[in-house]
């Protein structure tokens, strides 16, 4: 496996430095820094982790360890319309898995993947606090309740 080259635009480097600076470059704030970085970039590519490593003086292996441990962090860019299927208990017992399978089939994606055109990305999460609407699907900021596998195609059509 070849070595990863750290290549970033100047403004991106400045942004990461600004985020690290806002937390006083404190290594204890690593998770908060990563949250902010992911908020800004949409994901946490190796290059971003390398710059954070430099700024906070934390080994990049440690940062990668944190990024791969917490399922919230991702190293793949999210699609323009990120789709999340709730797999919390209530949604699960009301058939969320079948809904997820339908999304997988329709999009040809696995959980954690992004479509080649960058339009959709697929993820699952645990409980969005809307159990009364179970099973719940989020596309971007929009919430869909009581989703059945048959609804999946129509939901996707809204984003064509």
């Amino acid at each position: 496996m070849s070595s990863i080259k750290i290549e970033l635009r100047q403004e991106d480097i400045e942004k990461i430095r600004e985020i690290c600076g806002s937390f006083g470059k404190d290594p204890q704030e690593l998770i908060n820094v990563l949250h902010k970085c992911q908020e800004h970039f949409g994901y946490l590519p190796a290059e971003v982790q390398e710059v954070v490593s430099n700024e906070l003086d934390v080994p990049v292996a440690k940062i990668y360890g944190v990024v791969t441990f917490y399922s919230f962090f991702t190293m793949t860019p999210k699609g323009r319309h990120p789709i999340s299927i709730c797999m919390g208990t209530a949604c699960y017992v009301r058939g969320a898995e079948k809904v997820l399978d339908e999304f997988k089939k329709e999009l040809g994606l696995q959980v954690g993947q992004t479509s080649k055109d960058g339009k959709f990305s697929l993820s699952s999460l645990r409980c969005v606090g809307a159990c009364g609407l179970a099973p719940v699907v989020l596309v971007g900021d929009k919430t869909y309740g009581r989703v059945a596998p048959d609804d999946v195609r129509n939901i996707l059509k809204e984003y064509e």
Binding site: M1, S3, I4, R9, Q49, P59, V60, A61, G65, T68
Partner: protein, 592 residues
């Protein structure tokens, strides 16, 4: 100190507050088995993630079993270490660990010295239920110049991670991912080669299983020995003789110098030489460089940078190339003894015996894994012919000797060949922390003051404290010396150099805790620091019985300068015996 009374297996014991159940049990002679836990006493090295749960015990009044390695004793505690519940739990834990562990023990590099294997044996595991349903990890093999990572055999004890981060502050390895996917890996799961790994090998030294092992070069050595067109010579590092005997059942600290020479001769090496000779040579070059920088500094030359740092240790060289590239003109430019030996063997010695360097194979026996990488560095070869062809560890040599049906215990002592096998006590002590600088002081003192040194044992430079300092009186001129072993300790001294706070004239650094005697290629200590102490004592004992104990008095070194090199730091010496360093810190490139 506040003490606590408790009973373990119906026996009373009193311990200071803060003592773990495991340590309290040891005081009673009760060895509660541990797997992930490891401690090197007196060296501030402890791995205590309470991860494996092998060491669980039953505590009266406590609902669940307690990990004894990480549970402190409390007043009146009643602890039981071998109830049915405990033994069943221990067995279950072991079965879980084994369920996704490869079953290739017969051919594993760690077979026979594997702590997981010993534990399975100790716990009497005879079957592994559930292995048919457990996921087997299939992590790709990562082979670097020095170290092989076979993560399928990792049990996530995280000892390597602790050594790499807390002790060495190298930060190459971290626990990554979750569940069955979890592994200890470099950033982005790149290969070790593309990480900041220094190849110090301390991860290998503490790995309980075959997950981390060294790249074995004995097959290459065997091939060279079998080739009649090759002249094969060998050099042995000082720390090897103080540890090799352990692999043959001898007491730690048994010196086997003479037997080792006999064994190497039996293996078929044409000449058996000593890295100690090159250590004496290193002192001539490094000591001269020290005095030159010192005297220029004293006379007000601002370009003379102090302190001077030793440069014998390849793990250390890698470390400052990664982390302190801005200070790369501070270390001595002298090559390590291994590479000085290679350079002299391929020129001076090859000429003497009339062999072309292409037909000369130089093998080194080292307590070290970084030496494998060092001898492959491009700057240490001429026309693609490396100065040192193969470096094998103390462990590999032991295995090689056993394969050749040689019983080290019953060999007669033999002597190194001349001239590259002749050394002084100063060369021997290179094998332990403080030894290089003590050897340098013995020579630099006499060269600087023109006076004979009254005492040769510098006890103020010895010991196992991580960072030590001492001031040596050079006949009215106080020379301040710093010593660090373990890269985390070296980092502390280097930070001071960087910020201009350092007051030292010279600093010795060895990457491994204890110095080379604790190297990544040594027989495994399995967390017993007494072994390391015994090796240190052996090194100083060997020094003491040498007729000559100062490098500049080695008649063969004197002759080498007369016949070949001229004087220390001469142009020829510079060309053959000195090197330069590279910046290896990853650069952030601005994309336009």
């Amino acid at each position: 100190m506040e003490t606590i009374k408790l009973t373990i297996d119906n026996r009373a014991v009193e311990v200071p507050r803060g003592t773990t159940i495991n340590k309290a049990a040891r005081l009673l002679g009760i060895e509660i088995p541990v797997l992930c836990y490891m401690e090197l006493k007196d060296m501030n090295i402890e791995n205590k993630p309470a991860g494996c749960r092998i060491c669980v015990v039953e505590v009266d009044g406590r609902r669940n079993l307690a990990p004894s390695c990480a549970t402190n004793c409390e007043e009146g505690m009643v602890v039981r270490t071998h109830t049915t519940r405990v033994l069943n739990a221990r067995r279950t834990v072991m079965e879980f660990i084994l369920s996704d562990h490869p079953k290739d023990c017969l051919i594993c590099a760690k077979s026979g010295t594997c702590e997981l294997q010993s534990m399975a044996h100790k716990l009497g595991i005879r079957e592994i239920p559930g292995q048919e349903i457990a996921a087997m990890s299939t992590y790709r093999l990562d082979t670097s110049p020095s170290i092989i990572r076979d993560l399928d055999k990792c049990i996530m004890c995280r000892r390597c991670e602790m050594m790499c981060n807390e002790i060495q502050t190298v930060g190459a390895l971290s626990a990554v991912n979750r569940g069955f996917m979890s592994a200890v890996a470099p950033a982005f799961e790149q290969n070790l080669e593309h990480s900041t790994c220094t190849y110090c090998g301390q991860c290998v030294a503490v790995c309980p299983t075959g997950a981390l092992t060294e790249v074995d070069h004995t097959p290459d050595v065997l091939r060279a020995l079998a080739d009649p067109s090759k002249t094969v010579i060998v050099q042995t590092a000082p720390a090897v003789r103080a540890a090799l005997g352990e692999e043959f059942g001898m007491e730690p600290g048994t010196l086997v110098t003479g037997k080792m020479v006999s064994a190497l001769r039996s293996l078929g090496f044409d000449y058996v030489f000593d890295t100690d000779f090159a250590a004496d040579l290193t002192i001539m070059e490094e000591g001269t460089e020290l005095l030159d920088r010192l005297n220029r500094h004293l006379s007000g030359d601002k370009t003379a940078r102090l302190p001077i740092l030793t440069s014998c240790c390849p793990g250390w060289v890698n470390f400052f190339e990664y982390y302190f590239p801005d200070l790369k003109d501070v270390p001595s430019t002298a090559k390590s003894p291994q590479q000085m030996f290679g350079a002299i063997a391929n020129t001076y010695f090859a000429d003497k015996i009339g062999v072309n360097r292409k037909d000369l194979v130089v093998v080194s026996i080292m307590p070290c894994l970084a030496k494998k990488y060092e001898c492959q560095r491009g700057e240490f070869s001429t026309d693609n012919n490396p100065d040192v062809d193969f470096s094998i560890s103390t462990r590999e040599l032991a295995a090689f000797i056993k394969q050749a049906n040689i019983d080290l215990n019953n060999l007669e002592d033999d002597d190194f060949d001349s001239p590259l096998g002749e050394s002084t006590g100063a060369g021997v002590i290179f094998g332990t922390t403080g030894g290089v600088i003590e050897a340098a002081v013995r020579t630099a003192y006499e060269l600087q003051t023109g006076k004979k040194l009254e005492r040769l044992d510098f006890n103020e430079l010895r010991g196992l404290e991580g960072v030590r300092e001492a001031t040596i009186d050079f006949d009215g001129l106080p020379i301040r010396i710093g010593i660090a072993h373990g890269l985390g300790n070296a980092r502390k001294l280097l930070d001071d150099v960087r910020s201009g706070k350092s007051q030292f004239h010279a600093i010795e650094v060895m990457a491994c805790p204890g110095g080379c005697i604790g190297g990544g290629g040594q027989p495994l200590h399995h967390g017993n620091s007494e072994i390391i102490k015994a090796r240190v004592a052996a090194i100083y004992a060997e020094d003491k019985k040498k007729p000559l104990r100062k490098s500049h008095e080695n008649p063969f070194i004197i002759k080498l300068y007369e016949e070949f090199l001229g004087s220390p730091n001469s142009e020829k010496a510079h060309h053959l015996l000195h090197t330069h360093y590279f910046e290896r810190k990853k650069k952030i490139v601005v994309k336009h």
